[in-house]
Structures are given as structure tokens and as C-alpha cells.
Amino acid sequence: MKKIIVENLKYKYPLTNELALKGISFDVEKGEFIGIIGKNLSGKSTLCQALVGLVPHFYKGGYGGKVVVDGLEVSKSEISELSQKVGIVFQNPFTQVTSCKLTVYEEIAFGLENMGISRGEMRERIDNSLKLLGIYKFKDRNPFDLSGGQMQRMAIAGIIAMKPEIIVLDEPTSQLDPRGSEEVFKAIQNLSKEGMTVIMVEHKMEKIAKYSDRIMLLNDGEIVDFDIPQKIFSRGDLDSYGVTAPVFTKICKGLRIKSKVTGLYPITIDEAYDLVVNYIE
């Protein structure tokens, strides 16, 4: 069953002249891990927000085309309805803290209270989310007393407690230190293993190459390519789209060594290791 279907999505923010999204079409299957890359202002965040209904309902603006998420058509559904199908995590850990709750535990409960979930069910979901994200030990702390990485994991926990089957992450680690980033990537990997469909925008190419099933390259509001990571990063024109390949790929490109199996350049340290070690000029 296709989890996400996007048909010719077009969008223009209010008071602007140019389209932010110029006719995007693609599908995502259940359980896939999709990476989205592209230079700044290529439409990545707009696309993420179009999957959860913030585009168009929060901003208004000019909308065309169709987005269907787990059977719900986005333009015809409320954001609160969609939040049970798809969740989103943003860049800034601070502004995702509701700031009306005094403990991490209550913070996770926020979305569930809004949805009208019963108390027993609430406790179960909160306990599970906290444990899955590895922050159960912080449950009684004030949300603002956490580190950046812990805060982001709390934001993710708050979203998955609402039990969406799809989660969208818009540069979740860009404001975190290396340790925080690592914590968040591990958490996302766990979710993916549990069967969650993941859509993630990232600039850390090595990470996105490692985790993604398919990668979408966006430029200027359009999809340039949507394929497996090896194919995307083997392209020779990445520079012109303002992106770069993972370091390992760049090394192999420089040495012109491709994988004998796929005919493409390697994208992870392990693949690159094998080829480089056996390199003879």
C-alpha cells in the first residue's frame, strides 16, 4: 500500500511571486526511508510541511495538485486529523517545547490530551515513547533543562506518542553538537527498524547515504532525481545543484574506482574501504 502519494503538487506562499513547489509528483511505500537533499531554498521544508498540512492550512497561499497521506487527502483534512497519520520534527529543539508543561512526561502527554485519549492509554503510550527514545530517565525533569539532543528526542517522542505511521524530519540535527546528532540519528534508525516510514531532510550526506532507501534531489521547487543513493551520488552534476556527495564517494570519484557489482560509486565507509584498499594505479 502506498503510504504517500503526491500528484503534481504546486505551491506559492502568500505575498510572493514565485512558486515554491513547481509540480512535484512521487510515491512512498510503507516502511521506506527517504532522504531529501538540495540546496537552501530548493523547496525541501515546503515539501515537508505539505505532507503534514501546514502547507496549505497554516500559511494559506496558492495550492495546486494533490497530496494523499495514508488515505487522507491533505488539502481536505485538518492538521489535527493528519497529525495521527504523519508527524513532523523541526530544526529548532527550543521552539518545539510547548512550554506549558513542567515535566518531560507531561510534555509528551500534550498531544494525547488534545486528541482526547484516555488516561490509561496515555500512560502506556508515553512510557513506550520515552523508552524508545532513551529518555525515560528524564521523565520528571523540566523540559528546558535538557540538552539539545535530549530536547530533540523529546520532540520526536511527543510526536510518535500520537502513533503516526509516517514521520517527517526537517534537518533535525543541524543545531545539535556531534553527540546530540548521533543520539538523534540512532533514535531515527530505531524507529525505521520498527517499521515507521521516515522522510528526512539532511545536509550530512554521509548519514543520509547510510540510512536512506531512496534519495530525492530537489532544486528550485522541482524533483531533479529520485532514486537509490548510489545512483544519486554517482551523478556528475551534483555541484550544479548545490549539493555534494558523501566524502567516501568523492574519494572514489577522484580515484575513478567504481563498485564492480553495481557499476556505481560507493557511498559508505565500508564500501569505499573495500575498493580503496585494493586500488592499484
Binding site: 497554516f58 495521527q84 521552539t95 490530551e113 533543562d145
Partner: protein
Amino acid sequence: MKILSLYQERNTIIHKVDPISKILYIIISITIPIIMPYKIIGLLCMSVSIILLLIAKVFKKVIPLVSFSMIILLSIIIIQGLFNGLNDIPAFHIGNLIFYKEGLLFALEICIRVINILCAFAILVLTTKPSDLIESLVRRGLSPKIGYVLSSVLQIIPQMSSTMATITDAQRSRGMETEGKLRVRIKAFLPLIGPVVMNSLINTRERAMALEVRAFNSKATKTFLNEEQNSSYNKIIKVILIFLLLLAVAWRVLI
């Protein structure tokens, strides 16, 4: 992290009473002395409040509050003692100034009323977590959105003050003087307004989006994680308070 509140964490029975009862108490302890304007009633209410504060172990925190209002009360005592229109019988004198009995008694009544109100509010403010208070109000029909604004303000304002500090540092780093004469300090204020407002607007928008995707605008009936403290003694307290009010009204009407 500091949150903006006067709540004192203690484990007394007063703390366990629900916020609505405390609000009721404030209303009653202000209304009864008005219905039965005898000084003895005022003093009685004040004593009850003080006893409750002592039980709640927060009496010490009230003293600075009361001392502050004493400054105003003292001026009332002096003015009424000297110049009240009904002054007739002198009570005592300091040098050439004569303080009259009527004025002093009138001033005393005002003092008792003010301290009474302060103490009753203190019971609410010092023994109730703001989040509990707001949650009780939301349970009884206060719009959850207003409830959210009230609770979040308490944590956002301290956050904003730390952002202000960063913004001030940024401008000082560019050579803007903030230390020194008053005129210098006022001039330093202008470059701070823009970033503070801008930051708040951006943060507010991001926060609003984060709330939306946590079903903030859901039409479902809201549920609550915390169980309501509606044990039987809370009901009894409310019944007693309302009973006292009715007694006072009856007294007034019949006597």
C-alpha cells in the same frame, strides 16, 4: 530553570486542597466582612487566613508582602488619624499633631481589610502550582487556548530574558556602550528592540506550527493526564465555605 511563579513546594494539607476551593475561599473571606461590617468579623477572617498560612508553612513568605503594604497602610493611618472629617475625640498626640479616635478606627478597618485580602490571595498563590490552577480552570470550561497562553507565559518570559541578554551582548560586541551614564544606557536600548521583537515573532510562529502538529486545534474533547483532586474533603470544604456565606447573608437579612 526558573519559572515565573511564587509557588512554594511543601507537603501540607493546604497544598493538597484543590485550587477552585482556594479561589472560593478568597471570594468568601472578602465578601463576608463586607456583608457583616464588624471589625471583629474582619479580624476573624484575617486570623483564619494567618492560621492557614502557618499550617501551610508559607507564613514567612507573606511577611515581606505585608511589610511592603504597611508603607501604604501607615500613610492611611496618619492621614485618617489627622484629617478624617468625623474626627472629634482625640486619642493621642505627637508634638503638635493630634490623632483622633474616629480616624484611627476607620484606618484600622481599612488595614484589616487589606491584610485580609492579601493573606487570602497569598494562600492561593503560595500553595498552588500555576499549572494546577490553570488546569482546574480549563476542566471547568476555560478555553484551552487561553489556558495554554497563561501557562506558557510563565516559562517563556524567563527564556526571553536570556535571549535579551544574548542580544545585548551582540550589540555590545559591536561597540555599543551599555555601561555608564543614564543617557548612554537609554541610547543603548534602541538597537535591542528590533532583534527582540524579531526573535519573538519568529519563535512564536515556529511554536505555533509545533502546536498545530500536536493536534492543538483538534475538535475532540480534551482529556487530562493528571487525575483531578476531587477527594471528598475538597467537596466538604466547598460546602462549608458556601454554607458560611449563606449564614452571613441570612444574618444580614434577618438582623
